[in-house]
C-alpha cells in the first residue's frame, strides 16, 4: 500500500563553549494525496539560554552585565564581554505541493514565527519544470517576509551611548527573495545543479543588543561604548553549485556557494559529505564544511574615543573576517521489525576571526593593529591574528522519519 502520511521528527541539542545553549524539537507531518499532491505542517520550538558577545573589546577588568530582562553575568578580565539572554521561539509552517501535469510541480509555503523580540510572517512560491526527457529541471521561486523587531527594553538609537533612553515599539523589516536553478542528469550516476538567488532586505537591520567599544587613543584601552548602527537596506546574492555522484558503493555530495552583498561581505562555502552503506539497514555519512567571509565595510573591532563617529559601524563578529570549520558524521539505521529510519548526528564547529589588519576603523585614526593591541593589552592571550573571539560549538541531532 502506498503510504498516505509521512512524519519527520528531530531534536537538536546545541552548545557553545561559555555561551549559548539551544534545545530545538522539530516535527513535520505530511499528508500524501493521490497524483502527487502533498500538504505538510511543520512545528519548531527553540529554547535558547546563555550569553552572547556584546561586541565590546575585553576591558582588562571584571565586568558584570545586566540584560534588559534583569539577568546578570560576570566576565573575567580577558574574556570577550557577553550579555546574558534567554529566549523561546515558536514557528509554524505550511506547505502545499501540486503537480501541474506530468512535468511541472508547484510548491506554495507560508510560515509564522514568534520570539520575545521578533516576529516573522512570510510566504513563498516555487515551480519546477522537467525538460528534455527529464534530463533537466528548471526551478523558479520567490518569497516575501514581513517581519517585526521589538527589542526588549526598547530600540536603541544607533551609535549613541548604550545607556541612552530607548524608544519603545516595533521596527518593520521586509525581505524579498528570488531564485532560479537548473539541475541536470549528467549520467546514470551523476546529478549536477546550479542555483542563483537574490534577496533584498529593508527596514531595521541593526542588532539591537550589540555595542562597540570606544578606545582611548593614547592608552589604547576601551573607555566607553556605543550601540551599533547598520544601513537600512541590504542586497544579497549567491550562486550555489551542487553535485551528487554515486560511486561504486558510496555517494559523494559536494556543494560550493559563493555569496556577496552590498555591505561588502563576500563568502565561500564548501560542503562535502560521503554516504557509506554499512549494511542493508545502516549507513554512515561523514561531513566537512568550510566557510570564510570578508568583513562588512563598516565592521570595526572598536572606534577611537573623541573624533566624530562614522555613519554606520558594527563590531558584531558575524560581520567580521569570520571563518567556520565543521566536522561531523550522521549514522542512519532501521530498527528490525519497526518502520521508519533513525538518524543520529554529532558535529563540532569551530568559529574564529582572522587578519591582523581586519579592523576597518572607519573615520577613526586608530588602525587595526592598535585596536588589536588594545584587546591584547586587556589580557587577550590568544595572540594577534589568531582567534581572539573563537568559539567551540558542539551539536547533537537525533531524527526519526516514518511513512505510514
Amino acid at each position: 500500500m502506498t503510504p498516505r502520511w509521512q512524519l519527520e521528527t528531530t531534536g537538536l541539542i546545541y552548545g557553545e563553549e561559555s555561551r549559548a545553549t539551544v534545545v530545538e524539537p522539530v516535527g513535520r507531518l505530511t499528508r500524501l494525496f493521490e497524483n502527487g499532491r502533498a500538504l505538510s505542517l511543520g512545528l519548531t520550538l527553540d529554547a535558547i539560554t546563555g550569553a552572547s558577545p556584546t561586541g565590546a573589546l575585553p576591558t582588562g577588568q571584571v565586568v558584570t552585565t545586566t540584560s534588559a530582562s534583569g539577568h546578570t553575568t560576570t566576565s573575567s578580565a580577558d574574556a570577550t564581554p557577553t550579555h546574558p539572554f534567554q529566549d523561546f521561539r515558536g514557528a509554524v509552517d505550511l506547505g502545499w505541493e501540486e503537480p501541474l501535469g506530468t512535468l511541472v510541480n508547484a510548491t506554495t509555503s507560508a510560515h509564522y514565527s514568534q520570539e520575545k523580540d521578533y516576529a516573522s510572517l512570510g510566504g513563498g512560491l516555487k515551480t519546477s519544470v522537467d525538460l528534455l526527457n527529464r534530463r533537466f529541471t528548471l526551478t523558479v521561486g520567490g518569497g516575501v517576509n514581513r517581519d517585526r523587531v521589538f527589542p526588549v527594553g526598547g530600540t536603541a538609537q544607533g551609535l549613541a551611548s548604550d545607556t541612552a533612553a530607548r524608544i519603545p515599539g516595533d521596527n518593520p523589516k521586509q525581505v524579498v527573495t528570488g531564485l532560479v536553478g537548473l539541475s541536470h542528469v549528467m549520467s546514470r550516476r551523476w546529478l549536477m545543479g546550479v542555483t542563483a538567488s537574490q534577496a533584498r532586505e529593508t527596514g531595521y537591520l541593526t542588532d539591537p543588543y550589540k555595542v562597540i567599544s570606544l578606545v582611548d587613543p593614547v592608552t589604547q584601552l576601551p573607555v566607553a561604548q556605543v550601540t551599533e548602527k547598520r544601513p537600512s537596506e541590504r542586497k544579497r546574492a549567491d550562486v550555489l553549485g551542487s553535485s551528487v555522484y554515486h560511486l561504486e558503493h558510496d555517494i559523494l555530495y559536494v556543494n560550493y556557494r559563493y555569496y556577496w552583498d552590498d555591505w561588502g561581505v563576500r563568502s565561500h562555502t564548501v560542503d562535502v559529505k560521503v554516504r557509506h552503506d554499512l549494511s542493508e539497514t545502516s549507513w554512515l555519512q561523514p561531513h566537512v564544511r568550510l566557510y570564510g567571509q570578508s568583513p562588512a565595510q563598516f565592521y570595526v573591532f572598536g572606534l577611537t574615543h573623541g573624533p566624530p563617529l562614522p555613519e554606520f559601524a558594527s563590531a558584531d563578529e558575524r560581520l567580521g573576517p569570520l571563518r567556520t570549520a565543521t566536522v561531523g558524521a550522521t549514522y542512519g539505521f532501521h530498527v528490525p521489525g519497526s518502520p521508519g529510519e533513525f538518524t543520529v548526528r554529532g558535529e563540532y564547529i569551530l568559529q574564529w576571526l582572522v587578519g591582523q589588519s581586519a579592523p576597518q576603523a572607519a573615520n577613526t585614526t586608530v588602525g587595526g593593529n592598535g585596536l588589536r593591541g588594545a584587546a591584547q593589552a586587556a589580557g587577550d592571550d590568544q595572540g594577534g591574528g589568531g582567534r581572539p573571539f573563537g568559539t567551540n560549538i558542539g551539536s547533537l541531532l537525533i531524527g526519526y522519519t516514518v511513512a505510514f
Binding site: D117, L182, D238
Partner: protein
C-alpha cells in the same frame, strides 16, 4: 562587478546545457531513483543547519527562497 558574477552563473548554467548530450534512458535511472541521490537527501538536517549558520554567519542563501527568525543572539 555584479554583472561579471551573474555572467559567471549564466556560463555555469550554459555549461550544464552543453554537457547534456549524453542520454540517460528511464531504464538507466535505477541509481538516480534512490532517495539518497537527491541534492537534499536529509531535509530535516538541512533545515536545522540553515538555521544554525543563518544565526552564526554573515551569509545566507542556497536552495530555498524563504526563511524566518531574528538570529540576533
Amino acid at each position: 562587478m555584479n554583472t561579471r558574477r551573474w555572467l559567471l552563473a549564466a556560463l555555469l548554467l550554459a555549461g550544464l546545457g552543453i554537457s547534456g548530450c549524453a542520454t540517460v534512458h528511464p531504464w538507466d535511472r535505477d541509481l538516480l531513483a534512490k532517495k539518497s541521490m537527491r541534492f537534499v537527501p536529509l531535509p530535516h538536517e538541512t533545515a536545522v543547519d540553515d538555521h544554525i549558520y543563518f544565526s552564526k554567519e554573515g551569509s545566507t542563501g542556497g536552495m530555498d527562497a524563504a526563511g524566518g527568525g531574528c538570529g540576533c543572539n
